[in-house]
């Protein structure tokens, strides 16, 4: 006996209105989890029917049950779970044939199916009439007309689910006229299938045999017994030698049947989408289309860059006030430091991403549900194809200019895992906004007052960084595609759904769900890393330093100074002490230890400590340097910090920061993965630690080699 609550799946084609229907039925009470082993969201909700509670599970949108990867296998696995008692198959009435192709497969599998015929409003507008009763009797499954967006037909649907959950309910699969040769193939597969799934009914076994014939071969499915694979391979070879194509036989027989059913139930006035057609004439127009495309992309970019900023500033200042409060309220000591610099700072580090994530997902949700995202991919695919990326990779890449964290999350719109990974692993090379303060500090330090022709040297250096970042990102994608993530040629088969006005509630719900998942999953990792980093930069504390500064402090207090002068002297003493303690900490010692490796790229140990601190977030480089140089709090415009950097000398007396080492440092920051939040979010989105570690390694090696090339090359050319 299975004691789990009975499960009702909601399946359907992408864009059939599945999510809308799911939310309408569940009233927004959904929980988002993960399917085991793959990084696909499993959205589910508890539903209270008269017959008792059931769990409603939103299966990822699909055109078919056929699978060749573990991600695609989800739908079948969900179907096979013992407690799956019924499937609601959402069919978009305006793309009836394709929807029925999926419904037919579900019905063939023997599970009780309820067809929710959605978008009836749009169908009516198109003058399409569907005789749901006749359709229902031909399919052998109840058909309920609904309009998910207007919540029409939901009660009838709920009642039908209850009726279907009664123990005696079973679908009666219709007889599809599969050709004789194919029936013989199925018969040969059946014994192995029955051994694999001993409890399957005759219908289920037959449906499963068909599924195997479509799915096996060139697949990386898990859990298929060798015996089944062998027979399937035999059948394939035999069919090939006879000049038959079983794939074609199965699919054609199904579509023939669907065509026939549609002919008998649907008064089809030439289906067309006059509205979408007109809109597309503009939106995919060679000139206007590209112009609008550019405008929309610029809008997203602007929103992420500028729109999110006030909120991020607010979160940052809130964090700072909380820290001040804690400092005032708690006795000085390690515990207070842990709370202030570890925990509160860590929570701040997580929350600061919230505005950009919400904004980006509201945008993407709007683009996706309105149908424009498919056009974005359509317009730009030609460009992305060149480096082995999918057209849908464009929006995530562009978002990478603002911040890699929401951008990595945005790769969800890309269906195929390999395409998604390539995008996810290349986009952290886009020059994000956190790199800007670092560039500005360096440019202000080494290029002040210099010019290149008509332009200031700083502006040229900054601009070059952005150009370089785009080139390197695209180059990395191309290389990844040909090496680590080599695989079958990526294709571009994309439905262009009709334009629809998205529902604001659903956009909010989805963006909010995304944010919550980030806060919980990636957030914990970021918080933990912040605490570790704080510890590395704070311990061990040197008694010797403490004593020396105590003595100094006492000396100042002895002196006969004005109150203001004394305060000033104490403050600068405190900053100097923080710097001395940092040098003694693990992080400081590590900075010293790696100095031999940093010298060839033009850095010294102080920069090294800054780089370690910058792992929290790149812009922290600036404030860490402030502490290292004993200046105290500093931002990128801070004059004393710039001066201190200019005055810094290597052991041999040569200056550390020259234009050449400055460029080397900028290149390093451009290419290195100095961002634990990116690591955390890639961990979350790729499903394992393997990919973030790979990302960190390849970016660090790349950054080092590039800086080496810049610095040593520059010296050979006599530039530094």
């Amino acid at each position: 006996m299975d004691v789990r609550v009975p499960q009702v799946l909601i399946a359907g084609n992408p864009n059939s209105g599945k999510s809308t229907l799911f939310n309408a039925l569940s009233g927004g009470s959904a929980r988002v989890g993960n399917y085991p082993g793959v990084t696909v969201d499993r959205t589910s909700a508890h539903l209270h029917l008269d017959s008792g509670p059931v769990e409603l599970v939103d299966v990822p949108g699909t055109y078919s049950l056929t699978a060749s990867s573990p991600e695609e296998q989800l739908a079948v696995n969900a179907l096979l779970e013992r407690n799956t008692r019924a499937v609601v198959c959402v069919v978009d009435a305006t793309t009836l044939k394709r929807g029925l192709y999926l419904a037919l497969q579900l019905i063939e599998s023997g599970v009780p199916v309820i067809v929710a015929m959605n978008m009836m409003d749009a169908a009516e507008r198109m003058g399409l009439h569907i005789d749901t009763e006749v359709l229902s009797s031909l399919l052998g499954a109840p058909v309920v007309p609904v309009v998910a967006t207007k919540r029409r037909g939901l009660d009838a649907l709920r009642r039908q689910v209850e009726r279907t959950l009664r123990p005696d309910a079973r679908s009666k699969p219709p007889d599809i006229g599969y050709p004789e040769a194919l029936r013989a193939d199925i018969a040969r597969l059946l014994p192995a299938i029955e051994k694999w799934r001993p409890h399957a009914t005759a219908n289920e076994a037959r449906a499963f045999a068909l599924w195997c014939m479509l799915s096996l071969g060139d697949d990386d499915l898990v859990g298929v017994p060798e015996a089944v694979r062998e027979i399937a391979a035999d059948l394939r070879n035999q069919a090939a030698s006879e000049g038959r194509n079983p794939h074609l036989e199965i699919i054609a027989a199904r579509y023939d049947w669907v065509d026939d059913v549609v002919r008998r139930t649907c008064s089809e006035r030439a289906p067309q989408m006059p509205f979408s057609e007109k809109v597309d004439r503009v939106l995919t127009h060679p000139v206007a289309g590209i112009l609008i495309f550019a405008l929309v992309m610029f809008g997203i970019f602007e929103a992420l860059f500028a729109g999110a900023e006030p909120f991020m500033d607010a979160i940052e200042s809130l964090t700072t006030s909380l820290q001040d409060l804690a400092v005032a309220a708690l006795p000085a000591g390690v515990l207070r430091d842990l709370i202030v610099e570890g925990i509160i700072a860590g929570v701040g580090n997580v929350l600061v991403f919230a505005p950009q994530i919400l904004l980006l997902f509201l945008f993407i949700g709007f683009l996706e549900d309105s149908g424009y995202l498919a056009r974005v991919a359509f317009v730009i695919d030609r460009v992305m194809k060149g480096v082995g990326l999918h057209g849908k990779a464009f929006v995530p890449l562009l978002s990478g200019f603002a911040c890699a964290v929401p951008a990595v999350m945005a790769t969800r719109t890309i269906e195929r895992r390999r395409d998604r990974l390539v995008t996810m692993l290349a986009l952290p090379l886009m020059s994000c906004s956190a790199r800007l303060p670092v560039y500005i500090l360096i440019v202000g330090t080494v290029f002040a007052g210099m010019s290149v022709g008509w332009f200031s040297a700083g502006a040229v250096a900054l601009f070059s960084m952005y150009v370089l970042s785009v080139l390197v990102t695209l180059g990395a994608a191309a290389v990844l595609r040909r090496t680590v993530l080599r695989g079958p040629t990526p294709t571009f088969l994309l439905e262009m759904p009709p334009y629809r006005w998205p529902s604001a509630t659903i956009l909010w719900l989805n963006a909010w769900r995304r944010l919550r998942i980030f806060l919980v999953d990636a957030g914990t990792i970021i918080l933990a890393m912040t605490i570790v980093l704080w510890a590395v930069l704070s311990f061990p504390k040197s008694e010797e330093v403490t004593e020396r500064y105590e003595a100094e402090r006492a000396r100042i207090q002895q002196m006969d100074l004005s109150a203001a002068a004394e305060e000033e002297a104490l403050r600068s003493l405190e900053s100097a002490e923080a710097g001395a303690q940092l040098e003694q900490s693990l992080g400081g010692r590590f900075g010293h230890a790696i100095e031999p490796a940093l010298r060839p790229i033009g850095f010294d140990w102080q920069i090294g400590v800054g780089i370690i601190g910058a792992f929290a977030a790149r812009e922290v480089f600036v404030s860490t340097l402030g502490v290292v140089f004993g200046i105290g709090e500093a931002d990128e415009e801070n004059k004393p910090l710039r001066q201190a950097l200019r005055d810094a000398r290597h052991a041999d007396g040569t200056p550390v920061m020259t234009p050449l080492s400055g460029v080397s440092l900028m290149v390093f920051f451009l290419l290195a993965c100095q961002c634990m939040s990116t690591i955390a979010v890639v961990r979350k989105e790729s499903g394992s630690w393997k990919w973030p570690l790979f990302l960190f390694s390849y970016m660090t090696v790349l950054a080092y080699l590039a800086s080496l090339l810049v610095y040593q090359g520059g010296r050979l050319l006599g530039l530094g």
Binding site: T95, L96, A374, F378, T491, L493, E495
Partner: protein, 78 residues
């Protein structure tokens, strides 16, 4: 030489004769409803010339030229 889907200009219609893509891609195309005998119309090309937007079985689908070139058709209404 038999014409392919990639030879059609926007507005032209053809009937699929055979699909000669790699097996997994051919299977996906067929499951999306592109089968021998199916009528396909090219609606437009993307602004940069690739991919193509098709109308098939009452919905719009875009495919790259590389795939379209391996779908043999019998042209109609040319």
């Amino acid at each position: 030489m038999t014409p392919s889907l990639a030879d059609l200009r926007p507005g032209q219609t053809g009937e699929i004769v055979s699909i000669d893509c790699d097996r997994p891609i051919a299977r996906r195309l067929m499951e999306m409803g592109l089968l021998p005998g199916t009528e396909v119309r090219v609606i437009r090309l993307a602004p940069l010339g690739d991919p193509l937007e098709l109308r098939v079985r009452g919905y719009a689908l875009s495919v790259r030229r590389a795939e379209a070139a391996r779908i043999a058709i019998r042209a109609r209404g040319m």
